[in-house]
């Protein structure tokens, strides 16, 4: 369980990093909490790792027109403990508490988690729920268009995610986040995030090949009396695959139950 040999570069600027990524089979290394296990398992054998964590200025959480601009190298623990995140996006604050374990949160970065794109990870679902804009070295990508499948994004080989912009939520937005995992900190068997503000948004995590908004279920929601019907629809709108942790049917059931709970919580938090 030792990684294969590779070359290593730690550029000090984004320009140097982009240039280095021109090499064949180069990979970006940020916090390494997903990449290094894959290397240890020898699931990957890149020729070059480009460590971007020495590039300054990519780990800040700043105001962005009432929302937040989050640098891609911001560590999970910094997000978990950020007063700005807690005050403006309490749903993200709640989700961060479910991300892995402290030692992983100390190293892992939001950009790394988003670009790795595990469908059961919290952050990819959160950026879809919060309608984030993802700034790369080349363009601005809406979060809803960022994934094209499991562990797969639309990023080019030499394109680096630099900032995550979360637009401000309408005042009084209610939120809910519910996750079910076998062990605290493990990947979700399923999770659901809900916002009730100017519109209702429901996102399911761990149920499809990528996080998805449940548009059919959302359309059924008017007020608290619709919660059971919306939850029922949510369970039918996802198409999970079964594995040794849970059958497809079980995961659909989880989405239904978690949607109901998250909607109730969000409804109670609206003001």
């Amino acid at each position: 369980m030792k990684p294969p040999a590779f070359e290593y570069l730690a550029p000090r600027t984004l320009e140097q990093a982009v240039a280095a990524l021109g090499a064949e089979d180069a990979k970006i290394l940020a916090g390494g909490q997903s990449l290094v296990p894959m290397l240890n398992f020898r699931l990957l054998a890149p020729s070059l790792l480009v460590d971007i964590t020495r590039i300054p200025g990519l780990d800040n959480v700043d105001d962005w027109d009432g929302g937040l601009r989050i640098g891609a190298l911001t560590r999970h623990h910094a997000l978990e403990t950020s007063p700005l995140v807690r005050d403006r996006f309490p749903v993200l604050h709640a989700a961060m508490a479910e991300v892995a374990h402290l030692a992983i949160r100390n190293r892992g970065t939001i950009g790394g988690s988003l670009c790795h794109g595990d469908p059961a990870a919290e952050l990819p679902g959160m950026v879809v729920l919060l309608d984030a804009q993802l700034q790369t070295t080349q363009r601005l990508i809406p979060a809803a268009e960022f994934y094209d499948g499991t562990l797969s994004t639309v990023l080019g080989a030499d394109e680096i995610l630099t900032d995550i912009m979360l637009p401000a939520l309408p005042p009084g937005t209610g939120w809910g986040f519910e996750e079910f995992a076998r062990r605290s900190g493990d990947f979700a068997l399923a999770a659901v995030g809900v916002l009730i503000g100017g519109e209702v948004r429901i996102v399911a995590i761990g149920a499809n090949e990528k996080p998805i908004r449940l548009l059919n279920a959302e359309a059924l929601f008017n007020d608290a009396s619709d919660i059971d019907a919306v939850a029922e629809a949510a369970g039918k709108e996802v198409s999970p695959e079964g594995d040794l942790h849970g059958s497809a049917e079980y995961r659909c059931h989880l989405v239904k139950v978690l949607t109901r709970r998250a909607l109730r919580a969000a409804w109670e938090r609206t003001s």
């Binding site: 909490q33 290094v36 296990p37 290397l39 374990h101």
Partner: protein, 162 residues
């Protein structure tokens, strides 16, 4: 060539990029207190503290630690002069085979520094990334509980006191 400070001692070494920090500590610096279990970030046995944060030494390359200050279990205390957390582990029978203990101790130190740990649930959540196959965790939780609010940062980490 990388330069690190481990438990207050400076080292410079040439390392292959693929060398994991855990192997660097064990093989290059002969600090074998850091244990290697799963090598995939699941068991937590290799947990060390880097620049004040607990990290998995199996999920970090030594080259990434260039310039870092690292604390390992060797820096906590000695057999004749145990750190209060180590003392608590002994008093509460929080270890049996001892394989997970270095990771439990370093995780415990980081938890005690960062969180109020007002409830046992918080302690259990904090330890959820560290596997122990002997104790059933109960005694580890009790040991950590017994030192909440006391200074357990250890000699090597005085510079990081928060």
């Amino acid at each position: 060539m990388i330069a690190v400070v481990v438990n207050g001692v400076s080292y410079e070494r040439a390392v292959e990029p693929r060398m994991l920090l855990a192997d660097f500590l064990r093989y290059e610096l002969s600090l074998t207190g850091t244990h290697v279990g799963c090598e995939q970030g699941v068991c937590g046995a290799c947990t060390v503290i880097m620049n004040g944060d607990s990290v998995r030494a199996c999920l970090c390359f030594a080259v990434q630690a260039d310039g870092a200050e690292i604390e390992t279990v060797e820096g906590l205390g000695t057999v004749d002069d145990l750190n209060p957390l180590q003392q608590a582990f002994q008093e509460h029978h929080a270890l049996q085979c001892g394989f997970c203990t270095p990771g439990m101790l370093m995780t415990g130190v980081d938890l005690l520094r960062k969180y109020p740990l007002a409830t046992d649930r918080e302690i259990r959540e904090g330890l959820s990334g560290n596997l122990c196959r002997c104790t059933g965790y109960e005694h580890i939780v009790r040991a950590i509980r017994s030192v909440v609010g006391r200074s357990v940062v250890g000699r090597s980490v005085a510079g990081h006191e928060r």
